[in-house]
């Protein structure tokens, strides 16, 4: 393709864009909506993820030790637990700490505190709070603990109780996993439907815009224009729509996320959409502008095709 042809194609694209002002405006508006929805789904994805991981973090398994369990053995068990690939953190709560926490929890309950006083000795054992990397991995960890228990049975086991083996606790864990899994899946489906719908609307708008030019395309063919020479200016126009819509969307997100930043940070557990937007601006720039440009070019390419068959 020669330089002259390239120049002519771009000039024709820009001129058509300008002279079809109203069609261009409508196309840009529709495409802006598409890109806006796409951007919103990016945010929604992030918020959903953080909310779900917050939820998953609520799950743990506690190992209660007998009061007589020697601390070094507990620490050893903590070490070997930490070595497991499934385990994220293991928190050691000593018997003393457990007692202090218990006292704090019941500080308004004189009866219980009195009873505790009566006992004299610390009735509570040490505790290990285990957090897995993923909610589905508690089973493996529990099995590991079971093995440990079996091994140490000779020397009068130090583990008093693992709450994972409580039917209730296990059910709660399973339910939590189920909820977070289906929330993630549902979120993905909704996002997909939204994105596909708006993309289809955008595509159709460009098709309509080019439909108004179908007679022109026919005339161009009869005057002897090649297929590429007719198609290319329309693609230039489509790319322009995408670029402008992308920029508009990027600009729109700035005040919007600024305004929503505080609220989302407090509400959805830790994600400030404004700082996320600023921090990932390049990602947003790439996704929104890139989608706009590709959508514009591909839609125009496909829409012109049917009128070139002459």
């Amino acid at each position: 393709m020669s330089w002259v042809t390239t120049k002519r194609i771009f000039r024709a694209g820009f001129l058509d864009f300008w002279r079809n002002g109203f069609v261009s405006l409508a196309s840009i508006l529709v495409m802006t909506v598409t890109l806006f929805v796409l951007g919103m789904t990016l945010f929604a994805g992030v918020i959903l993820n953080s909310a779900l991981s917050e939820l998953r973090n609520k799950a743990d398994v506690n190992v209660y030790f007998t009061t007589s369990a020697p601390e070094e053995q507990i620490l050893q068990l903590q070490k070997s637990l930490q070595a497991l690939p499934e385990v994220q953190t293991v928190e050691y709560v000593s018997a003393g700490d457990a007692l202090a926490a218990f006292r704090e929890r019941h500080q308004n309950d004189q009866l219980t505190l009195q009873a505790l006083q009566e006992l004299g000795d610390n009735p509570l054992g040490a505790v290990l709070n285990i957090r897995a990397k993923d909610i589905s991995q508690y089973d493996v960890i529990a099995k590991f603990l079971q093995q440990q228990q079996a091994l140490s049975s000779s020397q009068a086991g130090i583990i008093d109780k693992v709450n994972y083996f409580d039917e209730q606790h296990r059910q709660a864990l399973n339910r939590l996993q189920h909820i977070s899994d289906s929330a993630a899946r549902l979120g993905l489906i909704i996002i997909l439907i939204l994105v596909l719908t708006t993309v289809a609307i955008s595509f159709n708008t460009l098709r309509l815009a080019i439909y108004t030019s179908r007679d022109e395309i026919q005339v161009m063919r009869l005057v002897g224009a090649g297929q590429f020479y007719i198609r290319a200016p329309f693609m230039v126009e489509g790319v322009l729509y995408g670029l402008i819509s992308g920029v508009i969307t990027l600009v729109m997100f700035y005040p919007l996320t600024y305004w929503l930043g505080e609220a989302t940070a407090n509400f959805f557990g830790g994600v400030n959409v404004f700082s996320y937007y600023i921090g990932n601006f390049l990602l947003f720039f790439g996704v929104l502008i890139g989608t706009g440009v590709v959508l514009g070019a591909v839609s125009s390419y496909l829409a012109v095709r049917r009128y070139l068959k002459i």
Binding site: V4, R221, V223, G224, K309, I310
Partner: protein, 226 residues
């Protein structure tokens, strides 16, 4: 130069647009195709432009079978034919100047050539002062003259004018016919379809008369007989 070889066109609902049409056109000829509406004049012209395919038979342009040229190369052949239509078919988003320049651009002509040739043909059709007007700012006669200017600017071997005067008043009709005559005098072959009796009778050129898809007369120096 142009040869229709037993061309027939039958549409899907078995209505016949053309039936066994054969004739040839010599270089430099001015031929008129006449007939009532629906006689097949426009179909005949569309065959030459490869806008429609014949059901049987073939159309040759300069020894090339038009319908064997692939879609992506047909435009090169069309650059050798200038076309003028009843409904003008100008590009509405382009000025008179740009409409003519467009035909030169698609033919890959140089920027300098465009700058010198377009004003020249605009003068030829007497529209030098309307170069920057858009089609909807021109009268029917003016639009048709722009279309003629566009058709001749690439110096095609043949001009195909499909009812060019169909939408025009007698004065404009006269002017268009005069321009076509002038172009023919300069050596360009012209194929004109019309149902205007006055146009045919004043031309005194070859006339092909069609009726219900068939050629019923072919006279060297014909009159409008229907």
């Amino acid at each position: 130069m142009i040869y229709y070889d037993r061309v027939s066109k039958v549409y899907a609902d078995s209505s016949i647009a053309l039936e066994d049409v054969s004739f040839s056109v010599e270089p430099g000829e001015f031929i008129s195709i006449v007939g009532h509406s629906g006689a097949g004049k426009t179909t005949l012209v569309k065959m030459l432009l490869a806008e429609e395919k014949p059901s049987s038979g073939s159309v040759f342009f300069e020894s090339i079978n038009v319908h064997e040229v692939p879609m992506n190369r047909i435009n090169r052949l069309r650059r050798k034919m200038g076309t003028v239509f009843q409904d003008f078919r100008l590009l509405p988003q382009k000025t008179a100047y740009e409409n003519i320049a467009f035909a030169m651009e698609v033919a890959g002509r140089h920027e300098d050539e465009i700058r010198s040739d377009v004003p020249h043909v605009l003068d030829l059709v007497d529209l030098g002062d309307k170069a920057n007007n858009f089609p909807d700012e021109l009268s029917g006669g003016e639009q048709q003259r722009v279309a003629i200017a566009r058709a001749i600017v690439n110096q095609p071997d043949v001009i195909i004018a499909d009812e060019p005067t169909g939408n025009l008043d007698p004065v404009n009709t006269f002017e268009i016919v005069q321009i076509l005559k002038k172009i023919n005098d300069l050596g360009t072959t012209i194929i004109l379809t019309t149902h205007n009796k006055w146009v045919i009778d004043s031309l005194k050129k070859r006339v092909i008369t069609m009726d219900r898809g068939r050629v019923i007369r072919d006279d060297r120096e014909g009159k409008y007989i229907l």
